[in-house]
């Protein structure tokens, strides 16, 4: 799969904890972007339905409908998470994939998101908003950077709360 964006960020928490926050708390740290909405009725609330491979990432809409963003292909806690990513407007054959790596660096976690396969979505497709390819990918990368920054805040908040519980 080519045509990709890659974004990485260091987060002050151990890899397993960052993985747990990424998956279990995605509804809390996800920041919808109207340029990249999954369905015309978005935003809803994102969730991994269960843990483990074979589960799926979904968006639960306020209407009660559930939209499948993609199946989870690799679920390796603290190390790697791979899932499919489709928008409702994608035609058959259009498919992108998100590959997330969690690596320990010093006492932090380096989270790397690689979102690939945009070559399957033609330049003139509605999901690309008539942006030139480079502009579209740049905007998408900037969104992922904002998302990882939000994940980092959530993980830091989580570490503080657990520390307080430890004090009690």
């Amino acid at each position: 799969m080519s045509s990709k964006v890659l974004v990485a960020l260091r987060i002050k928490a151990p890899p397993l904890r960052v993985f747990e926050v990424f998956t279990a708390d995605i509804g809390a740290w996800w920041r919808p972007n109207p340029l990249f909405s999954f369905t015309p009725r978005s935003p809803g609330v994102l969730a991994f339905e269960r843990t483990g491979e074979g589960t799926r990432l979904v968006e639960r809409l306020s209407s009660g409908k559930v939209f499948e963003i993609g199946p989870v292909r690799i679920w390796d806690p603290g190390r790697r998470l791979v899932f499919g990513w489709r928008q409702a407007s994608f035609a058959p054959g259009m498919d992108t994939e998100v590959d997330v790596r969690f690596e320990p660096v010093d006492d932090e976690t380096r989270v790397t998101v690689e979102h690939r396969g945009w070559d399957t979505v033609p330049i003139e497709h509605v999901a690309r908003h008539r942006f030139p390819d480079a502009v579209f990918l740049q905007r998408h990368a900037e969104w992922w950077r904002a998302l990882l920054t939000s994940l980092a805040s959530q993980a830091a908040m989580d570490v503080q709360e657990r520390a307080k519980e430890g004090d009690a």
């Binding site: 080519s2 045509s3 990709k4 964006v5 890659l6 974004v7 990485a8 960020l9 260091r10 380096r110 945009w118 070559d119 390819d133 480079a134 990918l137 740049q138 990368a141 950077r145």
Partner: protein, 150 residues
Amino acid sequence: MPRASLTSALCYRDPKAALKWLEAAFGFELVMLIEDNDGNLAHSEMSFGDSLVMIGAEWTEKHKSPASIDGFNTQSVHIHLDGDIDAHCERARAAGAEILMEPADQFYGDRTYRCRDLEGHFWTVGAPIRAVSVEEAEAASGLKVVKGWA
């Protein structure tokens, strides 16, 4: 990470090779990479400390790597290090940097070295090792400090 107001953007004939080299030599971390439909690098950013550099291709006729213009440089990036500069130099050497000047103490209080990377970009690296007064610096260098000595 808050964005610094100034960011250097460097051109390479093979920017993907440069990303790997700069990580191995200087400890830079890749924080953004965008590839087009053909798998060519369209944009990338690496972080070091509180700063970024952008690593790109020769993206217009007038943007050239030193490797394409007989090794000439028209600017260079200086790395400010808080740490062991001799170890940093050894790491760069092991990754294939050509060391143009070995680590040496400077009159202004830094210890610095200078090297050339895989496509001929010059890099200087410095770390503060002692505080130097204006008077001492002027006496040692024969220069006149006009402004800006902390």
